[in-house]
Structure formats: structure tokens, C-alpha cells
């Protein structure tokens, strides 16, 4: 793939980082050509946009990972990733864009080669990578999962040697994939789309200005996949893995439900209707390593219940 000029499509991965230097470094490493399989540094670029905080990742650490990392430090406006996201897309040069709104999301080693493959199938591809949480249960339900436990877990699985062992140390993020990934999904925390599609939907909506961006990611995903020409692919053998960092909706917090209600209210105010899941069913794309089997099994069982005629 690398060096094949006729087939080459430059891909930009935009990663938004805030107050999570350890996690962001892992995430950037997981997107690097040294870890990703069947891609070279000429095939893609990594745009890191860091919102200012007291715990900076910094340009030196980010750019030391790989030659194709570009780093930008931005003021933290309103505790929302949306301005940084918009800025990152503006800086990117790829024909297609991969968006990681939460820089704490590591990925498995074929995410980039499969995203590029999908764009070779159709320029209208939307590629969604299923989401997982590191730890024994989803992190917002798990008060015992903290940074120290997670660091030990990641060291134990030696993920840099075999990134698919991330599945071994994680659980499926059912909050966003209640019916598995054979049925329509609510969002993706690692989603790829063409620059043209992004422009046609008007890009990210900066009115989502609540902490963490509120429902900005769900809104963007919904508008992307509901375009009539969109062809949605999901990678059943790949994943995006949330590392613990005290994120807005991924920490244990007794105010979480009220906050989610506020997010829904803002969505209603902006879109004029309550949020509903898109009903675009995905196509599978990619191999399925053994570690990913349980999630595909869960998805298949949901598929039987939800789709077969009564």
C-alpha cells in the first residue's frame, strides 16, 4: 500500500487532546505507522490539536512518535472540543478524514488500512470503528478503575507488541452500541469520512458548546451516515479503546444523568427535534481476530432478536 502512488489516498487523522498526556501519547502511538499495519507514513498524517491545560502533552512528545505528526496547541475555549475539532479539520490535508474527538481512544492495528480500503471501494464511505472501554466494566460504572490500574493493565498485555490484546483488557461500550454493530450505531469515537462529505453537511456544528461538546459527535455522525449516498462500513475486528482520564461522560459521576439530559435538551434546541438514532445499517469490512469474537457474537445475537420477522 505504501508507495503505491496510483492507489494512494492521503488520510488525515485528527485527534483532539485535553488534559490527558499519558492517554494521548498512547493514542498517537496507536495511530503511528510503526504500529498500524500495511500503511506507511506517506499514506496519512496525524493532526494533534491540544487544548491548553495544566497537564500538556506538548509538541515535542507528540512529534517524537512519528514524522507525520503535526501538533497544534489551542486555547481551551468553553471546555468543548468543538473549536479544536474544527481547527484540526481545517489544518488537515487528506482527501479523507478520521476523527477522534476524545484523544484518550487507542485503536487496533488495521484501523487505517481498512479505512483506506473502504475509500477505495467508494468515495462515499463512512467507516465506523466500534468502541470499547479498557477495564472489566464500562468506566462510568467502575469506581475501581483508575489510572494506576489501567497503566498496569496496559503493561501486562504489552499492547505495542500485539494491539489486538486490547480486546483482552476491555469491554464493549454498550452505551453507544446497545444492539451490537450489525445494526445501526449511534456514533463512533473513531469515524472516517471524505472531506467532500464533511463539507456537504456543513462540518461540525459549533453550537454544541457544552462540556465535552455535548452531543456534537452523535450529531456529526448522524448527519454523515444519513446522507443518501453514504455507505457505512463497520470494522468488526477493530476497536477504539477508551482510556481512563476523568472524561465528561466516562467517569463515575452522580450528576451524569442530569448532564446527559442537558445534552439532549441542547440537541433539541439546535435541531428542533429530539435526537433519534440513524437507521443506516452497516456493512462489515475486515478480518476478525479471535479476541474480537465475543463482540461479534453479541452483535449477531442482537441481530437475530431485532431483525428477524416475528
Amino acid at each position: 500500500m505504501a508507495g503505491d502512488l496510483l492507489m494512494r489516498t492521503l488520510l488525515s487523522v485528527v485527534i483532539v487532546v485535553y488534559d490527558m498526556p499519558r492517554q494521548a501519547l498512547n493514542t498517537i502511538r496507536s495511530f503511528s505507522a510503526g504500529y498500524q499495519r500495511k500503511v506507511g507514513t506517506d499514506d496519512f498524517e496525524i493532526i494533534v490539536v491540544e487544548n491548553e491545560s495544566e497537564r500538556l502533552l506538548g509538541a515535542h512528545a507528540a512529534q517524537a512518535v512519528a514524522d507525520n505528526v503535526r501538533y497544534f496547541l489551542q486555547p481551551n475555549v468553553g471546555h468543548s472540543p468543538v473549536p479544536a475539532l474544527q481547527f484540526g479539520v481545517e489544518q488537515s490535508r487528506g482527501d479523507s478524514i478520521g476523527l477522534v474527538v476524545d484523544g484518550a481512544r487507542m485503536v487496533t492495528p488495521r484501523v487505517l488500512s481498512l479505512a483506506l480500503a473502504a475509500f477505495r471501494i467508494t468515495p462515499h464511505a463512512i467507516v465506523s470503528v466500534p468502541g470499547y472501554h479498557l477495564g472489566r466494566t464500562e468506566q462510568h460504572r467502575n469506581p475501581n478503575h483508575d489510572e494506576r490500574a489501567e497503566k498496569a493493565l496496559l503493561e501486562h498485555i504489552d499492547w505495542l507488541t500485539d494491539g489486538y490484546r486490547l480486546f483482552e483488557a476491555s469491554v464493549f461500550f454498550r452505551g453507544r452500541h446497545q444492539h451490537g454493530f450489525l445494526l445501526p450505531l449511534m456514533e463512533s469515537n473513531c469515524v472516517f469520512f471524505s472531506r467532500e462529505a464533511y463539507a456537504l453537511i456543513g462540518g461540525v456544528d459549533t453550537r454544541f458548546d457544552m462540556p465535552g461538546g455535548g452531543m456534537v459527535n452523535l450529531d456529526l455522525y448522524k448527519r454523515l451516515v444519513e446522507r443518501p449516498e453514504a455507505q457505512l462500513f463497520v470494522t468488526p475486528g477493530e476497536g477504539t479503546f477508551h482510556q481512563f482520564h476523568g472524561g465528561v461522560t466516562t467517569k463515575v459521576d452522580d450528576k451524569r444523568e442530569q448532564m446527559l439530559a442537558d445534552f439532549r435538551d441542547q440537541y433539541l434546541a439546535i435541531r428542533g427535534e429530539p435526537y433519534t438514532m440513524p437507521d443506516t445499517a452497516p456493512r462489515l469490512l475486515g478480518p476478525v481476530p479471535g479476541w474480537a469474537l465475543p463482540m461479534l457474537e453479541f452483535s449477531a445475537s442482537c441481530g437475530v432478536r431485532a431483525l428477524l420477522p416475528a
Binding site: I121, P236, L284, L296, E297
Partner: protein, 306 residues
């Protein structure tokens, strides 16, 4: 689908037929543009190659199924379909060729579109898992009195023309795919490769001369997969109709003995016993609800060995 300005079809599907007009008509209809989804007749062609027998297709009726369907009648002295496959490929025009070595295999409606999608992924083998219509594989069902009349009646009641994915509801995985499609398949009865790859492999090996061509299809699949990416279409199927095939219920055939002879022939030609190619498949395609039970079966069989 695209590139319609090019005269050359993107894919040629070569279907070999011998002494099975009723089943072959169903097969050809499932490959027609009226049945296949998300494609037009300009995207692909179907080349039907019939080896002469006393029960022939009607070429006029065959061609009426679509402007992209061609029919060739040829003499065949032996019992192998290999020469017919090679002749069909020579006569075809597509950049890729899909081989349906047994014309009794009906197709699900997304085979052509998904094979065209897979072409974008580079040199590869696109394999469609195999099924048998009915509740048992045909070599077993025949012992219970299962026959073509019973099967065709069941098909008529299924209304497969309206939704071809209903074929999954009256099928079982074939013996070569019995462990599902996540574990190595022994063969595919609808497999597509780039024409350049077909040629560089020397096509189907006409040295296989046992009844029905012996392991000629398994041999080509093995040789092709050994050098390529394997793409499996998990929600598509090719469905064997009962027709008294060499290893699928032919009267008067000692199947066990025939299989021994086939293994021996393979060993002689390849200097090693036959084994399925060991390659992790890339899955491609949306999962139709009717195919989900087979996905679950595939997952459970694979998990047992993981």
C-alpha cells in the same frame, strides 16, 4: 455501479451446466440483473457454458433473462467441468472472473455487487460460502428420499424471486463449509479472481479427470487463496439444488469410494494430501437477518478452536 462508459464488464460470471436444465435456469435467473441488487447489466456478464447432454437448456429462454447473459454449447468427452470453465473464461471479457463450477447453485442477491466492491481491495479471491437447500446436505438427504421434485416445490413456495435471502431459511451449510466461514473453507462454488490471476494459475487443471472433475474446484481455490488476500462474503450464499451430482446424491455412485479416488488423484497431481488453505478471511458485506444464524454458527465453531 460505475465506469459504465467502459464497454468491458467489470466481472464475468462463468457458469458450467451439465444435464440439469431446471436447476440451471434457477441459477441463471439468480445471476440475472433483474435479481441481483445494486448492479446493472452493464456492470457484469454471465457466460453459461453447457456441456452437451440429453437434457439441454433452451438458449433463447436463457438469453431472455438479461442482455448480459451469453450461452455456449460445447461437446465434452470426459466428466470434468474443468475444460468448460477454461473455455468460458476464454470467451469472457471481464477484468475479473467468477467461477460457478456447478450450474445447480442458486445465488443470493448481493453476490455481484459485493464482488465488485471487493475488486477495489486489490488482488484477492472473493469466496461465497456454500449451502445445500433442504434440511440436510444432499448426500445425506437422498438417503431419506429427498429429491429434485420435492426441492423445486419447496422453492416455489418460498417466493425467492421476491427476496433471495429467503434461501437461507431453507438451507444448511455444505460439507466443505460445515464449520462456518470463519474457519478455512475447502472450496467455494462461487469464487472470483482477477483474470490475470486465473491466467497465471493456468486456469482449472484439466488433469483432474475423476467423475465430476474430482477435486479440481478445491485445487483451484487452494492455489488461488494461497497467493492472495481472501475475502469472504458472510451474508451471501450459493445454494446447491439437488440434481444427482457426482458427490451430492447421484444414484449408483459409491460416494465414499469416489472420494478416496479423488483424494488419490489430488495426491498424484500435487504430491501432497489435500488440505484447505489456511488464511484468515476479510469479511465484506452487510449482514442480512436471514443469514445471521449462519454467522452465529460460524462464530461458535471458530471459538471452539480459538
Amino acid at each position: 455501479m460505475r465506469l459504465r462508459f467502459l464497454r468491458r464488464p467489470l466481472l464475468s460470471v462463468v457458469v458450467v451446466v451439465y444435464d440439469m436444465p431446471r436447476q440451471a435456469m434457477n441459477t441463471i435467473e439468480t445471476l440475472s440483473p433483474g435479481y441481483q441488487r445494486d448492479v446493472t447489466s452493464e456492470d457484469y456478464e454471465v457466460v453459461v457454458v453447457e456441456n452437451e447432454s440429453t437434457s439441454l437448456l433452451d438458449p433463447v429462454v436463457v438469453r431472455q433473462l438479461g442482455p448480459n447473459i451469453r450461452y455456449l454449447l460445447r461437446q465434452e468427452a470426459g466428466t470434468s467441468p474443468a475444460a468448460a470453465v477454461n473455455e468460458g473464461v476464454r470467451q469472457s471479457k471481464g477484468a475479473w472472473v467468477a467461477i460457478v463450477v456447478d450450474g445447480a447453485r442458486m445465488m443470493s442477491p448481493g453476490i455481484v455487487a459485493n464482488t465488485l466492491r471487493a475488486q477495489s481491495l486489490g488482488d484477492s479471491v472473493v469466496a461465497v460460502p456454500g449451502y445445500h437447500l433442504g434440511k440436510k446436505v444432499h448426500q445425506e438427504a437422498v438417503l431419506d428420499g429427498y429429491d429434485a421434485d420435492r426441492e423445486q416445490a419447496a422453492l416455489a413456495a418460498l417466493d425467492w424471486r421476491t427476496d433471495g435471502y429467503r434461501l437461507f431459511t431453507m438451507a444448511v451449510l455444505s460439507a466443505s463449509c460445515r464449520d462456518g466461514f470463519l474457519k478455512p473453507l475447502a472450496e467455494s462454488n462461487c469464487m472470483a479472481v482477477p483474470r490475470t490471476q486465473f491466467d497465471s494459475l493456468g486456469g482449472f487443471d484439466e488433469g483432474f479427470t475423476t467423475l465430476g472433475g474430482g477435486f479440481v474446484n478445491l485445487d483451484f481455490y487452494r492455489r488461488a487463496v494461497d497467493r492472495s488476500t481472501l475475502i469472504v462474503l458472510p451474508s451471501e450464499g450459493c445454494f446447491h439444488q439437488f440434481h444427482g451430482g457426482a458427490t451430492t446424491g447421484a444414484p449408483g455412485v459409491d460416494r465414499d469410494r469416489l472420494l478416496v479416488d479423488m483424494h488419490k488423484e489430488y495426491l498424484t497431481l500435487r504430491s501432497e494430501p489435500h488440505a484447505p488453505p489456511q488464511r484468515t478471511p476479510v469479511l465484506l458485506g452487510a449482514i442480512n437477518p436471514h443469514a445471521v444464524p449462519f454467522l452465529q454458527h460460524s462464530l461458535s465453531r471458530w471459538q471452539e478452536t480459538f
